[in-house]
Amino acid sequence: MGTFIVRRLLVALGVALTISVVSFMLLHLSGDLATSIAGPEATAEQVAQIRTEYGLDRPIVSQYLDWLGGALQFDFGRSYYYQSTVVELIVERMPITLTLGGLALGLAVCISIPLGVVAALKRDSWVDRLALLFAVVGQAMPSFWFGLTLIVVFAVTLKWLPAAGSGGLEHFILPAIALGYYATPAMMRLTRTGMLEVLESDYIRTARAKGLSTTAVIFKHALRNAIIPVVALAAVELGFMLGGSVVIESVFSLGGLGQLAWDAISRNDYPVVQAVVLIIALFYIVLTLLADIANAALDPRIRTR
């Protein structure tokens, strides 16, 4: 298990470096940064001045190494737009995104796994059909529209919960439902398929032949094996929710990382874009790593191969 984790960590490090190189290059290849920072009305001298000031006239490799050197010490430079460092901006926004993503994933797991198990156990019954309907609706409905509907019903009409802002936990309930519902169908259906497959397997028959109770057969022997692919999917979903919650964050005016990235892109705030891209990539890497470790803990065939 130890060597397994070390090996995975080394791979993760390589992936992180690659992403930082690629995103840095892409940003610098997307056009002349100095021109877009200076704006459409700037004179040639102003552009040239910005170019020297921001070090954009130096070779791209040395620019990258400078940036990497800073990044390794958690120094991502200053925002071109806000009067603060990039790190301050990210530290300020991160808790919002983490809370939203964590709540949404928790909600999705709590609904999708039990629902998937019940749907598999009661295959082709009305419960199964209802779960399928729930999944299809979730997959078909745009999340911004569902978010707006939630606001109309629970914030405007019923006045139970606030519609916007990020002051307290109550502000996160509606966005977490909107974001979590989006992640539920895939996990629910994967759980259902996995359970159906596992319940047919020989070792379930062995478990029943031992006289074990139905509960032990389902939860100890079946779910443990059916859940393995769901863990990996949940990690990807969480990564998506942390990085891709731009839409939900703007619908509910939650100033999280997604919104920061969006604003930074539209304001040509390159240091912020670069840092947020790296942070979101790191989320994915860490989550995939955690999923691999969780999978290895669940499936002995992975860790002792």
């Binding site: 397997s201 020989d202 070792y203 028959r205 062995t206 478990a207 029943r208 032949a209 031992k210 006289g211 074990l212 109770s213 032990a216 022997h221 443990r224 094996n225 669940l298 499936d299 002995p300 065939r301 002792t304």
Partner: protein
């Protein structure tokens, strides 16, 4: 009183085309400490019979039985709860595929101790001690270390030994072994067979051994029941069956076994021509008549075979389901070697 007494056991499965009569009224009895072999080709209902005895039939299957008594207690009258207390405790099962019959996610120790703990035969330490003792008994070295291993770390033969140890954990009265050696290499097969027979004789456990291989039967069984198309068509003590096979199907099966030194090299391997009749819907008359060499060669009155034959007493405990069981056909039967 026999340990297991089954009369007129029937298992029906609803299928698209109607009802599949997988088991069509079989009678079985197993004495304590006896080894009964249930022989037949694929689809003859032998696995369905074993699942019916264990109470592990698929939910859609319908079971009926004139009598289904285990140790004097009617199994059909038991609640699912009481049935669960019997299963794994007093009747255990060994399955065909050792590669998939163990849960890949749990250690051998965990899976071995499970039934022992479920049936409250002792605490964890006692369960562990019993698991080690049984692993050693089935010929697994370094038993204590094996408990921490996972199924994928073991070969097929070792896993089947673990399955046998697992079945023995609660010291059952009856073990049902469903083709336990079919998936194994020939050399491993012989080892596992010997192990099962030794254990059965030493512990006095009754065993129902299910196989399609009459060669295996000769080496281990006390008594044989040959199944065809969901029925028992011949049953006899092993010696009597080999000395005097009375149903044309049994004779056909025996002639299919090549015997070293007796079957001339280069000669054609014997096979029974034709296929098993469909068991969807009612089967009228003798189920074997469309493949029967006696009928084909005109040695018997085919019209009589249109009537369903009864399982008739021949001599002693020898019974056969054939109107012409006393007819000695010219089918060459090679006697397989009987074990001493």
């Amino acid at each position: 009183m026999p340990l297991l007494d089954v009369q007129d056991l029937r298992v029906d499965l609803p299928v698209e085309a109607g009802t599949l009569h997988a088991v069509r009224g079989i009678d079985l009895s197993v004495e304590r400490g006896e080894m009964l072999c249930l022989v037949g080709e694929s689809g003859c209902g032998k696995s369905m019979t074993s699942l019916a005895l264990m109470g592990l039939l698929p939910r859609r299957a319908r079971l009926s039985a004139g009598r289904l008594d285990f140790d004097g207690e009617s199994l059909t009258a038991l609640s699912e709860r009481r049935r669960g207390q019997l299963r794994g405790r007093r009747m255990a099962m060994i399955f065909q595929e050792p590669m998939t019959a163990l849960n890949p996610a749990y250690t051998l120790g965990n899976q071995l101790c499970e039934a022992f703990l479920r049936h409250r035969l002792g605490n964890r330490r006692q369960a562990r001690e019993r698991a080690i003792e049984l692993l050693e008994r089935v010929g697994i070295s370094a038993a204590a270390e094996r408990l921490a291993q996972y199924p994928h770390q073991l070969s097929g033969g070792l896993r089947q030994r673990v399955m046998i140890a697992m079945a023995l954990m609660c010291d059952p009265d009856l073990i049902i072994a469903d083709e336990p050696t079919t998936a194994l290499d020939v050399t491993i097969q012989a080892q596992i067979l010997r192990l099962l027979r030794d254990l059965q004789q030493e512990l006095g456990t009754a065993v129902i051994f299910i196989t399609h291989d009459l060669g295996v039967v000769a080496r281990i069984a006390d008594r044989v029941a040959v199944m065809y198309a969901g029925e028992v068509i011949e049953t006899a003590p092993t010696q009597a069956l080999y000395a005097n096979p009375s149903h044309p199907y049994t004779r056909g099966l025996l002639s299919c076994i090549p015997a070293p030194g007796k079957t001339p090299p280069g000669s054609r391997l014997q096979a029974i021509p034709g296929v098993v009749p469909s068991l969807v819907g009612e089967v009228e008359g003798c189920a074997f008549r469309n493949r029967c060499p006696l009928v084909r060669e005109g040695q018997v009155d085919a019209a009589r075979c249109e009537r369903t034959p009864e399982l008739r007493q021949l001599a002693g405990a020898h019974q056969a389901r054939c109107h012409y069981a006393e007819h000695r056909a010219a089918t060459r039967v090679v006697q397989p070697e009987l074990s001493p």
